[in-house]
């Protein structure tokens, strides 16, 4: 083989091969990862994808999803032009239209709805990815609608709610400096490799690792102590740990007496949760509960690493996580180095050690100047605590009830109807809209219900601003031209703002001028960022000090850390709204509904991450699919399978009173006996159809995806 041929075979960048390396980032998962990319580009086409070594987050590495990015970019399912529906909703028959035609008809309809019903009757929804969110929120509010909603309605906001109810603002685990890390239901080895590497480093320097997780994962395998909690009983476990910490006087007396509110009531309630009772409720032995409590309370500093959604995907989720976060206050580990440190967010929920005007940008109109957001009459605590958005779980209810006002038009960016419990119910509600638009990369099942479908492009075809906790920032440049007639989501938002005739100076000034405006307090400019296509360290990163509450107090109404929530005190007497983080078993469980549990004896736990999937985003790629060839399949413990006569890859039916799906059985010790794990969102077996639409946490409106009851039968 000639030298050039060999170089071409190895895809080696050089003038001889015509292969160039272009920088970008991967946003298949979002928002705390965004690995830096080296894209091997030849003749305008990506021929290979690699992690960028200079990027401090991923240091040259990628996960299996990011490594499959090339198939994602060039998927045959990519949308090629804007489309207008010609068949019935759901049928999937469309005809191509021009961008102008599509955008003008959307703008015309939105303005018509605004005139006839008010701007709040137009809904703006953000699914994945997240880079365009600030611009979409601005578009909604500039238009006059309070109804900017996101997939965070089932992902991160309930955890944020529990943190805000406790501390006013969340503290992030300072993994780098901690001596004891308590990971509460997260497996970063399959979701956030940066955190996984931080844990490995911590272990090397002797950090103690405690992991609470119903599953066996690579994270639990590393743990000094693994608490195999029964799904949905996290609150009881945290309260039993508190019981030990209080009885053994391991708590931080100074913090509690000077900076907390409601400790005595909390302490009285915690008395009910002896380690023995904890064992009965959670399945974790009393001995382990005592050990974990002693470790976490006596090793200083100690940090709790929460996850975005597993603990709050329960009908008692927020109260459970409040009980967990109370431990941070109890032990005085809040806002200290090596504990749960408060680090200001710079952009899109990420700290970057620089200041921005993001908040002013996304909220050009105050909530008080607009109609009430969707869902806040049903979930009033959301309205009090969550500042960013409306609660999307309530969309189908409001479309049907038209109360407090009708919803008539909806534009989704990467909207996936399978995110909702009872997804078919959501689809039915979407049919009632006068106009439904979805922007996506692929012709998804959700797009099939849209009146207009707009083709977006991937991260490597666009330009986006991102930042990283180590003080790193990037404003990517397109590595290749947008494929077909696709456009970036931001381009679509700006064009729509123009067609809507919005009198908004920043939309008029354009994207890059907007980014400069947002970054103004940091002193960083787009032109400087463009000189660093792979990103750069932030000049003069802001220093993060400890115990900022000493000067500013806590951002709660009492100005203190709250064991008893002053927000929830106002709702006294309403079940689920208790001011103390009470423990209540999941709405459907052996404890709450023993009759139902006789017929449906298994706990149904959905959505726990598999390494090759992130929601539905990589289902269509043969590379990632090949890593779990039997999917759609449900994880079942071999002992349960053997009792039911089920062997590997047998077809099984998973049923709840609502519906049933048929999948393959995947026998594994990863799942504990009595629990079935099913990954969510598969088009051939959508486990969310097994949930009722109102199987929700009354505080957050979050679906109880991680504990319902089901039965299993061999088909």
């Amino acid at each position: 083989m000639k030298k050039v041929e060999r170089l071409l075979k190895g895809k080696i960048p050089s003038p001889d091969t015509g292969i160039e390396i272009k920088k970008s980032i991967c946003t298949i998962c979002d928002p705390t990862t965004q690995c830096g990319l080296d894209l091997y580009v030849k003749n305008g086409k990506v021929i290979k994808v690699e992690g960028s070594k200079e990027h401090p987050y991923n240091m040259g590495t990628l996960c299996s999803k990011g490594a499959a990015l090339r198939q994602y970019i060039y998927s045959e399912d990519r949308l090629k032009t804007p489309l207008k529906r010609i068949g019935s909703r759901g049928e999937g028959r469309f005809s191509p239209v021009t961008w102008d035609e599509a955008l003008e008809s959307i703008a015309e309809k939105f303005n018509e709805v605004k005139q006839n019903y008010g701007p709040e009757s137009v809904v703006f929804f953000a699914g994945y990815t997240k880079y365009f969110r600030p611009y979409l929120k601005r578009l909604a509010h500039s238009f006059g609608s309070p109804n900017y909603l996101t997939e965070s309605s089932t992902c991160h906001q309930a955890t944020a709610m529990a943190q805000k109810l406790t501390f006013g603002q969340p503290g992030r685990p300072d993994i780098k400096n901690t001596k004891c890390l308590l990971v509460w239901s997260s497996n970063p080895f399959h979701t956030n490799p940066g955190n996984a590497r931080a844990i490995l480093k911590g272990k090397e320097r002797g950090m103690t690792l405690i992991v609470v997780d119903p599953r066996e994962t690579p994270t639990t395998a590393l743990a000094d102590l693994h608490l195999k909690v029964r799904p949905g009983t996290d609150g009881a476990l945290a309260l039993a740990m508190a019981n030990v910490i209080i009885n053994e006087k391991l708590y931080d007396y100074n913090f509690i007496s000077n900076y907390s509110y409601g400790f005595d009531d909390y302490k009285d309630y915690v008395r009910e949760f002896s380690p023995q009772r904890g064992e009965e409720l959670t399945g974790v032995s009393a001995d382990k509960i005592i050990k974990a409590a002693r470790m976490y309370a006596s090793i200083k500093p100690a940090a709790i690493m929460p996850s975005a959604s597993p603990v709050v995907h329960h009908t008692n989720g927020v109260q459970n996580y409040r009980a967990v976060f109370a431990l941070i206050g109890l032990t005085g580990n809040y806002d200290i180095y090596g504990g749960n440190l408060v680090i200001p967010e710079s952009f899109i929920h990420q700290p970057g050690l620089f200041l921005t005007k993001e908040h002013e940008f996304v909220q050009p109109r105050q909530w008080s100047e607009m109609a009430p957001r969707i869902g806040i009459d049903r979930f009033p605590v959301w309205g009090e605590v969550i500042d960013e958005e409306a609660q999307a779980m309530y969309i189908p209810f409001q479309i049907h009830s038209e109360k407090p006002y009708p919803l008539k038009a909806l534009i989704g960016f990467g909207m996936n109807y399978r995110m909702w419990p009872d997804p078919k119910g959501l689809l039915e509600s979407l049919k009632k809209l006068d106009l439904f638009v979805n922007v996506d990369l692929f012709m998804t099942d959700t797009c099939k219900y849209a009146d207009i479908v707009l083709p977006a492009c991937t991260s490597v075809e666009r330009s986006e601003l991102r930042c990283y906790p180590m003080g790193y920032i990037i404003f990517t440049q397109p590595a290749i031209e947008p494929l077909y007639d696709s456009r970036s989501d931001v381009d679509i938002i700006y064009s729509l703002a123009e067609k809507l005739g919005l009198d908004d100076p920043l939309f008029k000034a354009g994207y890059e001028a907007t980014v400069d405006w947002i970054l103004e307090p940091s002193g960083i400019t787009v032109s400087e960022l463009k000189k660093h296509p792979g990103g750069m360290f932030v000049p003069n990163p802001i220093k993060i000090s400890e115990k900022k509450y000493l000067n500013t107090g806590f951002k709660t109404s009492t100005g203190k850390m709250e064991f008893k929530s002053s927000v929830l005190e106002k709702y006294e007497g309403i079940p689920g709204f208790e001011a103390i983080p009470i423990y209540r078993p999941p709405k459907y469980s052996r404890e709450s509904t023993p009759e139902m549990a006789k017929e449906y004896p298994f706990v149904l736990n959905t959505g726990s991450r598999l390494p090759m999937f992130i929601h539905t985003r990589t289902f269509r790629l043969s590379w990632t699919k090949s890593l779990r060839p039997n999917h759609p399949s449900a994880d079942i413990n071999p002992s349960d399978a053997s009792l039911l006569g089920i062997t590997q890859d047998d077809l099984i039916r998973i049923s709840t009173p609502k519906d049933s799906i048929i999948v393959k059985a995947n026998l594994t010790q990863m799942v504990q006996p009595g629990v079935i794990h099913m990954y969510h969102g598969h088009p051939d077996a959508d486990v969310n159809t097994l949930f009722e639409g109102d199987y929700l946490d009354p505080l957050s409106g979050y679906p109880g995806f991680k504990s319902a009851l089901c039965k299993i039968e061999k088909v």
Binding site: R6, L7, K9, G10, K11, I12, K48, V49, E50, G51, N58, G60, T61, L62, C63, S64, G66, A67, A68, R70, F189, H190, P193, A196, R197, L200, E216, T217, P218, A221, K228, P611, M612, S622, W623, T624, K625, S626, L627, N637, P638, S639, T668, Q669, M670, Q672, P673
Partner: protein
């Protein structure tokens, strides 16, 4: 210096990034009946609550004394002298499966044309100073591309350090 691919089994988390990176590098598409040159295996021991799950990423080990090379009747399998990679010339391969029979690790696989295919150590990358694609991608740095004996040295020094820090502790207890 000759290097080879090592796996630190303690760090493998079964994520499959190496499997995908291999397919991206080598244009392997499962939908065409092709298979990655790397694979992930999972081993489960014990039962709840004491279960233990381990993962391992496997591929060609590029043996020094390669049974596949010795067993190949047409000379299609050779060793690259510079890198030490065991490579297959598909033009000479007759698809007789001798290599598959002789390989104790189950590495050789046959493509839709019946010819043997396997990992070539990303020879073309290694020649220009890059690491194999699977090594580059590995998010826990479980896979490394190192001089022969380097991994052993790393392990040995870690063990020695552990030993040194453990002995005094034992002493103080007594």
């Amino acid at each position: 210096m000759r290097k080879t691919i090592y796996l630190n089994i303690e760090l493998c988390v079964g994520c499959g990034a190496c499997v995908v990176a291999c397919m991206d590098q080598n244009d392997i598409y499962p939908e065409k009946g092709q298979a990655s040159f790397r694979r992930i295996y999972k081993m489960e021991e014990g039962e709840f609550p004491e279960a233990n799950i381990k993962y391992i990423s496997t591929g060609c080990l590029h043996c020094e004394d390669s049974p596949c090379l010795i067993g190949c009747p047409t000379g299609a399998i050779t060793r690259d002298e510079t890198t030490g990679a065991i490579i297959v010339n598909q033009e000479l391969c007759i698809g007789c499966h001798s290599c598959a029979i002789s390989c104790p690790f189950g590495v050789p696989r046959f493509n839709v044309n019946g010819k043997m295919e396997k990992c070539n150590l990303c020879l073309e990358r290694v020649e220009v100073g890059l690491e194999p694609a699977c090594v580059r991608v590995c998010p826990t740095f479980a896979l490394t591309f190192e001089p022969l004996n380097k991994l052993q040295e790393t392990k040995e020094s870690k063990f020695a350090l552990n030993l040194m820090t453990t002995i005094p502790k034992v002493g103080t207890v007594r």
